[in-house]
């Protein structure tokens, strides 16, 4: 038995530390396409202090550590590329408190999206958070670390924009508070009016610290929620349609999707939009505003609203939406991965065309999906493919298609969302040298031993 194992057991207890092959097997992979790599140890701490001890141990031993939520990013961000210790955060799942009037919640770093949703529904039915369309086991901390998006992203930006404070264990073991909570008992701001230091951790994929607590903004939850779907056969009209929809300021979430099957969806672009209200009058007023905003497209017959039958509505109104799992198994064998570059909305037509070309070229099934971020400030364009895990040739074709897709995105002014280690390298090659130098300074200063999730954002 190694000294490191013994030390880890001393920190978290024997039942929360493992070097068992069958457990390392699972911690060596995520559900995507990335090559696997086993960690040497897995530990599931319960407290910030335990995390702190693990980090100090790793520093002393110069052993890599990889903080992990539910491992749902699909791009291999929690695969321990250089072995070491995977810190599974899921035992740190306490909901520390809610400030109802100030609309924010403080949660521990392993709290899941589903747990928070359920908690709010039971205790604060007038409040909600921006739930992503990931499985409910996905954690809130991991989601903001990858700049995830959710149901309120069209209204309030990336989920990471909704962070209202952080408690972080730095790579050298200090516990550091970020935002208003650094000098106040209240977690209402991650930065302003202080220097905003949250950027040292958000988007860094655990390479600069481990989030052990975070404050998250909550938003009003209306009593009613409904869905409308506007359909057009002209991809080139989608940006203008989105511009007009967002101008109404009446819409919650906006997603765009197109797919080959079932054939009723073939050839069209579907803009799913959600409206909410506390009364029928509010809902109908918003619906009217939305319909009126697209009158020009309706009158020219370039687009129209489809009838969303009552039986279809639960699928669309589900949060998170489960229908993605159906697509994930189209080819049987349960493989699904997507690259989701963040791009300008005006680029939608070229990306939509490219996705079809990639699918044809590589003979794979695709699903196009995009989510509006902010008031048309940008969008996440999902280049998604499904594959059979028992078919290595198909998996290889999907890999190639995804690679071509992300290069295309870079070439068209996009930036990668939750990029794989390989995509991070491409991003850094294309980055302004001074930006890269600044990242290097930050990384070297925060993580002098290079122990934090190595292989990711390797500015060295």
């Amino acid at each position: 038995m190694s000294d490191i194992y013994k030390s880890l057991v001393e920190i978290a207890g024997e039942e929360h530390v493992s070097t068992q092959t069958e457990e390392l097997y699972f911690y060596a992979r995520d559900p995507g396409l990335m090559p696997t790599h086993e960690p040497d140890y897995v530990i599931a701490p319960k407290t910030t202090e335990e995390v702190q001890k693990i980090v100090k141990l790793a520093n002393k031993e110069k052993i890599p550590i990889v903080p992990m939520g539910a491992g749902m990013a699909l791009t291999g961000l929690i695969i321990p590329l250089k072995g070491g210790i995977v810190i599974d955060m899921k035992r740190m799942r306490k909901i520390v408190g809610v400030n109802e009037k100030a609309r924010h919640v403080i949660v521990e770093g392993g709290t899941s999206q589903g747990a928070l949703k359920a908690y709010l529904e039971s205790n604060y039915p007038n409040l909600r958070h921006s739930i992503p369309d990931a499985p409910p086991t996905a954690t809130i901390a991991a989601n903001v670390v990858i700049h995830g998006q959710g149901r309120l992203t069209q209204q309030y930006g990336f989920n990471s924009d909704m962070v209202s404070g952080l408690e972080v264990v730095l790579p050298t073991g200090e516990i550091c508070k970020i935002g208003s909570c650094s000098m106040s008992p209240d977690w209402f701001s991650k930065g302003p009016s202080l220097p905003d230091l949250s950027g040292l951790f958000l988007g860094w994929f655990g390479t600069t610290g481990i989030i052990t607590k975070l404050g998250l903004k909550l938003y009003p939850k209306k009593k009613m929620r409904d869905v409308e779907i506007f359909v057009t056969d002209k991809a080139e009209l989608v940006p203008d349609i989105l511009f007009r929809l967002t101008h109404t300021e009446m819409v919650e979430d906006i997603n765009i999707w197109f797919q080959e099957k079932p054939i009723m969806f073939q050839g069209n672009h579907h803009i799913t939009l959600y409206i909410t209200g506390d009364t029928d009058e509010e809902l109908e007023f918003k619906r009217k505003m939305v319909w009126d905003s697209l009158k020009e497209f309706r009158d020219t017959k370039d687009g129209g609203f489809m009838w969303v039958l009552p039986a279809m509505k639960p699928t669309f109104l589900d949060m998170p939406q489960k229908s993605i799992t159906t697509f994930a198994d189209v080819k049987k064998g349960g493989g699904f991965e997507y690259s989701g570059p963040i791009v300008l909305i005006e680029k939608y037509p070229v990306f939509a065309r490219k996705l079809g070309e990639l699918a044809n070229k590589h003979k794979i099934a695709y699903s196009g999906m995009a989510r509006v971020i902010g008031r048309s400030h940008a969008m996440m364009f999902g280049i998604a493919f499904t594959f059979n895990r028992a078919d290595p040739d198909m998996m290889d074709r999907v890999k190639k298609a995804l690679h071509e897709g992300i290069v295309f995105a870079f070439d068209h002014g996009g930036i990668p969302w939750k990029p794989t280690a390989e995509e991070q390298k491409i991003a850094m090659e294309r980055m302004d040298p001074n930006t890269l130098r600044l990242m290097k300074m930050i990384k070297e200063n925060l993580d002098p031993n290079g122990i934090m999730n190595p292989g990711n954002w390797e500015v060295n």
């Binding site: 054939i263 050839g267 687009g303 129209g304």
Partner: protein
Amino acid sequence: MYSLKFDENLCATCPTSDCLVKCQYIDVDRDTAHNEMMKIIKGEDSFVLHECVTCYACEEYCKRGNHPFYLITERREEKGMLTASRAITNQWINMVEPQGKYRVGELTEKALSYCFIGELRQAARGKLFEGIRSSYIFGAEFFAQVVYLHFAKTSVIKERLPKVIENISQLGIKQLICMHDECYGSFTSLAPAFGMEVPFEAIHYLEYVYDRLQELKSDIKPLNIKVAYQRPCSSRLSPDKYHFVGDILALIGAELVEREYQGENALCCGEMIRMINLNEVANDIQKRNIDDMVESGAEYCVFNCPYCQMALSEKVSKREIKPIHIIDLCKMAIGEKK
């Protein structure tokens, strides 16, 4: 190959022009109606082609056996006029593209057609359908095609309906009980109007249910409720069967309330009208229709078409009227449903 059998002389000599005079959405006098119909017949443009909301009612208003709505639909397509957007039109055309995923039961010469409506499969249960339920057809291969009238696409009807008829007759079916007005209308009105031969007998399910209730008369306990009936657009293609609604309701002790929007003056559910881009018209129809149900004291809104039911159930429920399909109402009367 198939073309609309339309007798121009019947229109030219029509003393009423009721097809347009009675239209609930176009306000015209007899002379204007006559002139506009003559323009349409000649292939000229008419404001009617632009303003028709596709309620089908003129097919019933015409008592001379002509097909004014089919003609309007033909002319719209000839002129490249779309009712709904291209995208929605194609969505509906693709949705019911036959793909070999149909279902047939243990067929006999008499069979039920669920068309391509899953809800009808669920409805056809219990004593009312004893002995016939297992003999059924369901799927895109048997789809009625009538809906393409809303989209001004008679070309789709002409292409697909003959194949549907062939598919059914190849199964050896001699009598087809159509569980939906569209289905019945397609074989008894649409197909003959376009010169398609139908080698089997279509039976309207309301007629079947009425006959069956007569057999089950001893099981019926009068419901003693007041109901409003939501007449679907496609029932305009078979007005001769409309009386079965009243006959059935009388048989099960449900009082059909007197109201403004019933019979020939009925308002459709509005959702297809919404889909062809007439949102305000659809809202207005639904509001007037439901207000009328409420004012007439109806406790239930009885549906014939599952899509009308989907369109209006929530809305009538909010006004404290219970939505129910007529088959379920019959099941209530014979003690099979609460």
